[in-house]
Symmetry: C2
Subunit: 311 residues, 2 copies
Amino acid sequence: MPTVLFAAPARLWPNYQAPLAAAFTEAGLAVTMADAATPPEAVDYIIFAPGGPLRDFAPFTRARAVLSLWAGVERIVANPTLTQPLCRMVDPALTEGMVEWVAGHVLRYHLGMDTHILGQDGVWRGNVTPPLARERAVAILGLGALGSSCAAALAALNFRVTGWSRSPKSLPGVTCLHGAEGLRETLARAEILVTLLPNTPDTENILNAETLALLPRGARLINPGRGNLIDDAALLAALDAGQIGHATLDVFRTEPLPPDHPFWAHPNVTVTPHIAAETRPASAARVIAENIARDLAGLPLNHRVDRKRGY
Amino acid sequence: MPTVLFAAPARLWPNYQAPLAAAFTEAGLAVTMADAATPPEAVDYIIFAPGGPLRDFAPFTRARAVLSLWAGVERIVANPTLTQPLCRMVDPALTEGMVEWVAGHVLRYHLGMDTHILGQDGVWRGNVTPPLARERAVAILGLGALGSSCAAALAALNFRVTGWSRSPKSLPGVTCLHGAEGLRETLARAEILVTLLPNTPDTENILNAETLALLPRGARLINPGRGNLIDDAALLAALDAGQIGHATLDVFRTEPLPPDHPFWAHPNVTVTPHIAAETRPASAARVIAENIARDLAGLPLNHRVDRKRGY
């Protein structure tokens, strides 16, 4: 009977207690949840989210895996005490939510919706035939679980989709590019750019003055990935210069985004409060239970993080 | 060598001249375009849009078909001089544009985008997990070429889609209902309602005080179909009462919508200027050329209008 520690901010426990119990039962697992009296060396699996009391993984000498509640692991992966295998959350509900958010905002830009939502002034501006999706170039940086699902959904909506990833990938209906040269080519064709890269030293500030200048003039930017992907000052300069026509930003270096941050006031920026995709307790609990069951059955863990790459 | 008359407002001819010539060549047709000197009885096919000089179809004794440039034929079908077969436009580009517009606005309501587009006030409103598309009920009234394509696209985005039509239909992934009882059931479950019915005596004011009251409180309405489907006064009353949460209206009884119409000023209405879908000359010309080629080959005309139903 494995012992599982819920090492996340205490406020999350009420959301996860019942879904975890249900998921363990569903997976045929008899689990003991660790409590304050459980010594670290008795714990088999750690369910983890940053912001809770657990900082030092060293005493958990028996733990077979650390199972992240979140998709992003940048706040765990660099912890020098973490020697146990680390698994990212790949929650199907999170992916669904992300696909819906990305498809919605890409269509918003494609259709020029804001003109109408913000401009109910009684002036009939007809006779504008927008291009069809099959004439619209959308690019996605990052082709992991989230990026590739978004690319597939946008391709199904007829968009001309280019996807970029560090290493070569292949996706039906999507032009896949990779590496440094591929990044330049991807940016050069992106009328609408979606950033879904993990936060690693390699991707920090991947959108900077130099790379933003490679986009077609007036390109639209959608960032539901990570705040650190973008050099904020360079983006503001590109927006002021009209190089970037509009940006919808869901993630930021500091969250909540401070009320005096210039993104809030910029007429060509829409700030959304980190809502593009959220882990849902019911589906996340099932992912964790399945991974524990796999490990106990001698199967390799799903979604294991490569510590060198950082995701 | 058939003689074809372009009987539409003169301003459209420059848009259609080259596409029609190309489409006739592509279809292997040697066509003579009628000019001012051509007598009506020498015309074999009439390409028609309302607003041009042609009002009386009686002198066109040899004409084998009237081919509408537009999807909606309500301004032709009642013409008592029209005895020739009438065909609606079913333009694949128009369908694509409609699917994109409908998918975009459904996702806009689903995601609550307006809150962010209109509310960049520096207040971070996180901790709101919207339902997933698979938890969201969308209904479409009308399952013709446009409605069924929109239903399929929304089902592919995981929405719970109910489609309603006058007569029974079947579509994969869509709950299809029909008839008077089916309409009540469709409305009762529609968190987001899309109206894509043709304009006929049967559909006039199909959304009225009584039917709007059947929707769940706060339902969203999207009308890219026809202005006459909605009783404007009843909709305004339902919006004021909160029975309808928000409406996005693309078509109106009078277009352009007069600047003093209360829809423009209503805080819960977005007016768009009949842009949801437009016939594109290149693809429309191909549809017309194909239909003429079919008729000359002795095949039945595509998209022929049932004069009794009115579409």
